[in-house]
Each structure stands twice: as C-alpha cells, then as structure tokens.
C-alpha cells in the first residue's frame, strides 16, 4: 500500500495545499521548523488515528482556528481509497471515501503506517515496557489469537493483583481460578513473543549494515515466567510456579512472575548493547529492529508506509549510506526527513527529494532508475 497524496487544512504550519508522493523513497529536506515532521505527523494520524508527537490531537489545529482537516489518498493493488480526518476541539471524525466511519475498527489497520523517531532509541536504552510494546505490535499482526490472549492475561493479572492487595488471606479457590486463566493465556503470549524474537534474530543478522561489518548482533528473549531456563514451558508448570510464588507475591503486593515482566536483550559481540554500544550503534540497532519487524510482519499484512523522522542525524556518512541502501532494498514506500540531503542526491537509488520551507513542499529533484 502507498499514499499518493495528502492535503491538509489548518494543520500546524503546513500550507493548505496538495502534496503528491511517489511509491518509493520520499526525502523531505529543509531547515528546522519548516514543517518536515508535520508532514509525517499528518500521515501518521491518517494511518494510526493518533499522532506520534502529541497525545492531544487538538494541538495540531493551527493557532486561532476551530478545526483542522487531513485528507489522504491511498492505493492498494491499483485500488484507490480516500480518508479524511477532521479534528476539532472535541475529537475527530473519520470519513472514508465520502462516508462517515462510526466504528474505528473499520479503518484501523487498513492504512498501515509505521513511524520511527529519535525517541524510538528507547528500545535499546529504555525500560522493558517499551520492548514489550514493540514485540506486541508485531505479534498482533503475525499471530491470530494474540489480542484475545493478551486481553485475557492482563485482565486476570490485574484481578489477581487486586485480590492480593485487598484481601488479608485470599481464598485459595479464587486465586486458583485467576491463575488458571493466567497460565493458559500467559503460555500463549510467551510462545508468540518468543517466536517473534526468534524471527527477528534471524532477520537482524541478515542486516550487515552495522558499524564494523564484523559486529555480531544477537537478541535474547527473557521470559517473565522462567528467569533462567530457555524453554517454552507448559500450563501446569506455570500454574505450580504461580502457586509457589504466592507468599512472596503477598509480601510484595503484586504478581512477581509472568509475561508482564517479559523482556529481550540486544547483544552486540556478546555484550548487552544497552551498556556497550555507542550512541550511533544504538540508533542503528534500534532502526534495524524496526526494519526487521516491518519486513517480517508485512508478509502477513499489507506493507506499511514507513515514516522516518530525522533518523540519520547521529550517523556518520558511511553508515548513512548503508542505511539508505538498506532502505531501498527493503522497498515499499518510505517518507523521511533530514536537514542534509546531499548524500541522497549522490546515491544511486530511485528517490524524490522535496524542499520544505514555511510549510510548503516543492519537488527539488527526482531520480528513477
């Protein structure tokens, strides 16, 4: 799938004009605060119905105006689709090909858009929650029963925690019933997350565009159920573990084992990247993870449009070149922002470069190979 054009109205500092994109690498270049990221933001709102920049959608409405529109045209296997999102002080309305959409489930996932911004380096540097969310994003598209199991597990987990916290001596039968649900759904979650980590491990090892070509990257899944063992486990064993942990859990006031504590470690040459990788390596690793996830999940889904906000800023020219080659190899539609487009101009890949100034996008150069 790719986006052919967008048109915004009263959207941040963007001009109320049509911008057309091509089905390849679109580079938005220009000085700071000219509107490069706002173009990506508008597209991410079309695809995900929320912004990667702010939680409050109304912040995108240009100062002094009441509402704002984002209109986009998409093409999938030759079929066109249109989406209009109107944002006002109260919320948003979604209109698909002229018809108002009542249930957002109807459009969610129809226009897949993945974004990557400098903050996403948290997948290496940040806490385990960021990494679980990253895995879950992939699991939802790869595994059919992931969502149901995820919902059941977390509901049962929160219920068990509440019982532990509020009751002095919780009833054995009551705890057991929540532990049963946790065991069944928790084992499923573990299996799915583990197999995604294994898929990503193989995929990331094929990406040899990391600094020092020799660097060996590995990813290790760390189950929240078993701290040491690397086994899939079974329900009964997990149930027994939950039972054994009860007295510790009562003391601490929460459930100490389970997929809610899952994590994975990214290793570079046998050492955790979090401590041993340089800033540039971390950024490359983070983007490699995202690219691997996109490559692996698009087999199951239609290819997402990839939005890359200022990802090359910390890379040296050699690594930039490697990254651009990798991007063109991956294919699909990519929109990226940069303050310096000189490398793109010399590298031999199909590309369209835009110059963004005071909210206006104009085509600076185009190359088809």
């Amino acid at each position: 799938m790719f986006i052919t054009e967008i048109r915004t109205r009263n959207f941040r500092n963007l001009a109320d004009e049509k911008v057309e994109f091509f089905d390849g690498i679109n580079v938005l270049t220009g000085n700071n605060a000219q509107g490069k990221t706002s173009v990506l933001e508008a597209i991410s709102i079309l695809g995900n119905l929320h912004s990667f920049r702010t939680r409050r959608l109304r912040e995108v409405i240009r100062f002094g105006e009441k509402n704002s529109d984002i209109f986009g045209k998409f093409t999938r296997s030759g079929v066109e689709d249109e989406l209009l999102i109107r944002i006002d002080g109260l919320g948003r309305r979604i209109i698909r090909s002229g018809k108002q959409v009542k249930d957002i489930a109807e459009v969610l996932g129809c226009f897949p858009v993945s974004s990557f911004s400098p903050d996403d380096i948290d997948i290496i540097k940040g806490g385990s929650l960021v990494r679980r969310r990253f895995l879950d994003k992939g699991c939802i598209t790869l595994f059919r029963h992931f969502f149901e199991n995820h919902r059941a597990y977390y509901k049962a987990l929160l219920s068990r925690n509440r019982i532990i916290k509020t009751q002095g001596v919780p009833e054995d039968d009551l705890l057991k019933s929540y532990e049963s649900v946790m065991a069944v759904s928790g084992i499923e979650l573990t299996k799915m997350r583990r197999s995604l980590v294994n898929i990503l491990r193989t995929s990331i090892r094929r990406k040899n565009f990391l600094e020092n070509k020799g660097a060996i990257v590995d990813i290790k899944y760390k189950s929240g159920i078993y701290s040491e063992k690397d086994v899939a486990g079974d329900e009964d064993e997990y149930r027994r573990l939950l039972f054994d942990k009860r007295s510790i859990d009562f003391q601490r006031g929460f459930t100490t084992i389970g997929p809610h504590r899952d994590d994975f470690v990214i290793m570079i040459d046998g050492h955790p990247a979090r401590e041993f990788a340089s800033q540039g390596q971390k950024r490359l690793l983070a983007i490699s993870m995202l690219l691997s996830l996109i490559e692996e999940t698009r087999k199951a889904e239609n290819t997402p449009v990839l939005l890359l906000d200022d990802v090359s800023s910390e890379l040296d020219s050699k690594n930039r070149r490697e990254l651009y080659n990798e991007l063109s190899r991956i294919g699909g539609q990519i929109l990226l922002t940069t303050t310096d487009s000189s490398l793109y101009e010399e590298i031999e890949i199909p590309i369209r470069i835009y110059h963004v100034e005071t909210g206006r996008c104009t085509i600076k150069m185009e190359r088809n190979i």
Binding site: R144, K155, A156, S159, D173, K176, V181
Partner: protein
C-alpha cells in the same frame, strides 16, 4: 423548569440506557399525557417495588419465596442451571429447552470492580447441593469474567459429588458461518461433536 420536574428528570436519568435528553422527553410525555396514566404508572411501580423480591432459594425475581419456578413440582430437581442475571434466566426459560431449576448469581466475579465471591449469590448455591441435585450447569457468558467465575465455581463444586458442566458456545442456529467471528469459530471447531 420547576423543582418537581427537575427531580423527575434526575430520577429518570438514572435508568439504564436513559440519558439527559431521553429523561426530558419521558418526563414531558408523562406530564402531557392524561394524568391517569402517570398515576397508574406510579401505582404499578410502587406495588412492584414492594411486592417483588429475589427468591430466597434461587435469586429469581418473584412475589413469592420460593418463586413459582422453585415451587413448581413438575421441574426436574436434579438439574441446576447457574446464570449471571435474571434476564439470562428469562432467555433460557423462553427457549422451553430446560426443565430444571435455576440459580442466579446476580453478577460475575470482577475484583477490579470490587466484586468477589461474597458480593455474589454464591454461598446459597452450595447449601442447595445437599438434596437431589446431580448436575450443575454453568450458563455464564464467554467473557474473561464469566470464564473465571466458571473456573471458580468448578473449583468449589468438584469435591461435592455433583457433575459440573458448561453450556457450549459456537455457531448460532440459523446463522451463517461466514459472518461468525474468529473466536467463536475456533471454539465451535474445538468443541465439535461426532455425528
């Protein structure tokens, strides 16, 4: 708006499915209809509220305890069907497929909303088992809450010498497979029967 009307609107708004606008519309309707209708409604409401109570045996709503169902000598006393709410009981009754007795829990376990076993009509269920009951059928919803409630009841029923079963879930009768959601199809397949 007068004080009396405001009070009426505020009370109507507390009904399920009634918001500000509907509450206004209902009160205007009541006040512009012949006054006899409003009086009749008030009388019926008062009478119902005073006379209808949950049955002390099964929890069903009735004017008598035991209720008509519990007192009916033609019902099969060896079968006990556990439901969440009175409307579930009514739905099963309307199907004419079940001739046993009922037990209404008045909810499902949900610790996050402060509902534990003590908040539900669960203990009286066990005191009913000493008699002729041979099988307890759990007719609870297929949600996480319904599921855990069923597991909990099974846990506590298993040592009492009764058979515990759970109603099947699957393709609706007269429904087309094509429009059934994935979860239901999965359950229908795993719960298939030989024929």
């Amino acid at each position: 708006m007068s004080e009396v009307m405001r009070r009426l609107v505020a009370l109507l708004r507390r009904l399920p499915g009634v918001g500000e606008k509907t509450a206004h519309r209902l009160s205007i309707f009541l006040l512009t209809s012949p006054p006899e209708y409003g009086r009749e409604l008030a009388r019926a409401l008062q009478e119902a509220v005073e006379r209808v109570r949950p049955c002390a045996v099964c929890g069903n709503l009735s004017e008598s305890t035991p209720c008509e169902l519990c007192a009916d000598p033609r019902r099969d006393r060896s079968l006990l069907c556990v439901v969440e709410r009175v409307p579930d009981l009514m739905a099963i009754e309307a199907s004419h497929e079940f001739g046993g007795l009922y037990h209404v829990l008045h909810g499902v376990l949900d610790p996050l909303k402060g509902v534990g076993p003590a908040e539900l009509n669960i203990e009286p269920l066990f005191s009913r088992l000493s008699g002729e009951v041979r099988e307890v059928i759990l007719a609870l919803s297929a949600s996480v809450e319904g599921e855990t409630t069923a597991l909990y009841l099974r846990q506590r029923l298993q040592d009492r010498g009764v058979r515990v079963s759970r109603i099947a879930s699957g393709i609706p009768v007269g429904g087309e497979l094509e429009y059934v959601d994935r979860g239901t199809i999965g359950r229908a397949l795993s719960g298939r029967r030989e024929m």
